[in-house]
């Protein structure tokens, strides 16, 4: 495979070989190339940031109507806008609900998945592969495919409009079990053998050896789960009707209607959007290293 690749490469080589140039020429060419790359990258970064930049600017203005680039100067109403959204329009309630939901799901998923991964890596029992497949297969069953019967089930259990409805169905996670399993498999087997010889039980081993050795992965997984839960829209929209229990994602459209009855108050909507974006973005920036490490495991 590698050989044929190199042959193809050599065949594709251009006639003008850089080896023929003088050193200073090559350095100069290299520098202008790097400069071009930086200009290109900066342009793309700007384009990707632009929509949220506009939203951020609009969230500081009184009237949210911006029809040309000239209207984009930041307004002086940032403080009053954010105060009005959070307190006046009670957006803090939606934020709090989202936060509680996400923390509960992260903690619950971590505990449940750690136990499952522990068993899958460190226990010998019959039908182990079948159990692992049973867990992995749930990847094929995302919320959107099953939300109609899930809605019926939750309603029949009398759990619609409860905290239970927006947390418990999320507790099992094939992705988390899989990532933890991959990570555990990279920890030397001799560790668990020593632990066993020393009479350390499985839970003790999990808590005092595996968890400390998995810190980066656990943080990464937690960030992934938090972002995923925080960003949920469809299921809360369907199962939560009580406004006081609603989450930020759905609350945004309530904000849109509530801010003003006739015309949409866009500065309020953009203020709400910025507030909703902040928690997952902060986590991403703070824990980007652990997050990237975890993604690398997921890929393997």
């Amino acid at each position: 495979m590698l050989g044929s690749l190199l042959t193809a490469l050599t065949a594709a080589a251009e006639p003008s070989r850089s080896a023929g140039r003088t050193t200073s020429e090559r350095i100069r060419r290299f520098e202008t190339e790097q400069l071009t790359l930086h200009v290109l990258a900066a342009t793309i970064v700007f384009l990707i940031i632009l929509p949220v930049l506009i939203a951020a600017l609009v969230s500081t203005k009184r009237a949210g109507i911006v029809t040309s680039i000239g209207d984009l100067a930041p307004g002086g109403h940032a403080l009053s806008n954010y105060r009005r959204a959070l307190i006046g329009l009670e957006f803090w309630r939606f934020m709090l609900n989202s936060f509680l939901m996400s923390v509960a799901v992260v903690v619950g998923k971590l505990v449940v998945s750690l136990l499952a991964a522990l068993v899958i890596v460190y226990y010998r029992f019959p039908y182990k592969n079948a159990v692992f497949l049973f867990i992995l297969f749930t990847l094929l069953l995302p919320v959107p495919v099953r939300f109609v019967p899930l809605y019926r089930l939750t309603t029949e259990l009398g759990m619609s409009n409860t905290f239970f409805a927006i947390t418990v169905p999320y507790l099992a996670s094939a992705t988390t079990v899989f990532i933890l399993r991959q990570h555990f498999l990279s920890i030397p087997a001799s560790l668990v053998e020593t632990a066993k010889v020393d009479g350390v039980g499985p839970l003790r081993f999990l808590w005092s050896v595996l968890v400390p050795m998995s810190r980066a992965v656990l943080v990464g997984v937690s960030v992934i789960m938090f972002v995923y839960t925080w960003n949920q829209y469809l299921w809360p929209l369907v199962i939560i009707n009580a406004e006081s229990l609603q989450v930020a994602q759905v609350g945004l459209s309530l904000l849109r209607g509530q801010a003003s009855t006739g015309e949409v108050a866009w500065s309020m909507v953009m203020t709400g959007s910025m507030l909703t974006l902040l928690p997952p973005l902060a986590l991403l920036v703070l824990f980007r290293r652990q997050l990237l490490e975890t993604f690398t495991i997921q890929q393997k």
């Binding site: 490469l9 080589a13 069953l141 995302p142 019967p149």
Partner: protein
């Protein structure tokens, strides 16, 4: 047999697995099985369920509205996959080729991964609004009449751009990681041979990172089908005239606007089969075409 498997108490194993198994069974498997069962009934909110056999599926097959939704979903998902991966590959390659400040560019590009789809929908609704959108007047200066509240293809494109924009960051995370693993020696050989940049990307890097690309095709397809619900709901509500009525939105409306739970269940069974086939097909393809190092 791995030497890691030092614990043998089956009862313990069962107890520790219990939470995962119970939640999977009750909230993942049971609703899926029940969707299959429910799809054979005429079921609504208040009245009792009436067994109708395959009636719901017959209705689906003969509904031109539904077939259109299928077509739009497939087209939308395909455009999302191609658009996201092309853009993300360019960006990742650019970051890979840059010598200083890589980390900074990476963080500046991947953050939309954390962006809530609902926020993406609202922000794009605002900046691309036909009347008050910030770029609307500039685009109209080119002779394009921006009116995606009533023009179907325009609505499709606007939602698509929002969807691609939100997903690029996720792809860049995986692609830069994969590019970072390409052996340095290969790059050097290619450079010494005077292979041009684009050629190096397409002929050397793309084949080597193909396992990652296949993984991303799967993730992006699922995203195209499901992850864009909030954007469709907030931007177009499936309109105008069904132009952005992707399957998941159609399913949502059937269930929670018309309360036809049986019919909606038939639709979710179709969606389940489609996703299953897609994933199966892509795993098979990945075996055949993917390059697994060596």
């Amino acid at each position: 047999m791995s030497t890691r498997e030092v614990f043998t108490d089956r009862l313990q194993a069962g107890v520790l697995l219990l939470p995962t198994m119970v939640v999977s069974l009750v909230f993942l498997y049971y609703p899926t099985v029940r969707a299959v069962g429910l799809s054979l009934y005429r079921a609504s909110l208040a009245r009792g369920d009436v067994f109708v056999g395959l009636e719901n599926y017959r209705r689906l097959a003969s509904s031109s509205e539904y077939l259109r939704s299928v077509l739009i979903s497939v087209l939308f998902a395909a455009c999302v996959v191609v658009g996201v991966m092309a853009v993300a590959l360019c960006i990742s390659f650019l970051i890979h080729e840059i010598d200083v400040g890589k980390g900074l560019y990476l963080v500046a590009v991947i953050w939309p991964y954390a962006l809530p789809p609902a926020v993406a929908g609202l922000v794009f609704l605002f900046i691309a609004h036909p009347n008050i959108g910030i770029f609307t007047s500039y685009i109209e200066a080119f002779g394009v009449d921006v009116n995606w509240f009533s023009n179907g293809p325009q609505a499709f494109v606007v939602v698509l751009i929002a969807a691609v924009w939100k997903q690029v960051g996720y792809n860049v995370i995986f692609m830069t990681a994969a590019l970072g693993n390409v052996p340095e020696s290969l790059t050097e050989t290619a450079e010494l041979d005077g292979v041009s940049r684009t050629r190096r990307l397409l002929r050397v890097y793309v084949p080597i990172i193909s396992p990652t690309l296949v993984f991303l095709v799967i993730m992006n397809t699922i995203y195209g089908f499901f992850g864009t619900f909030a954007m469709v709901d907030l931007m177009t509500k499936g309109g105008p005239a069904g132009a952005t009525n992707i399957l998941i939105y159609d399913l949502y409306r059937t269930a929670f606007q018309f309360y036809e739970f049986g019919f909606a269940s038939a639709k979710s069974v179709v969606l389940f089969v489609a996703v299953g086939l897609l994933m199966y097909g892509q795993f098979r393809l990945s075996d055949r075409y993917a390059y697994y190092g060596g």
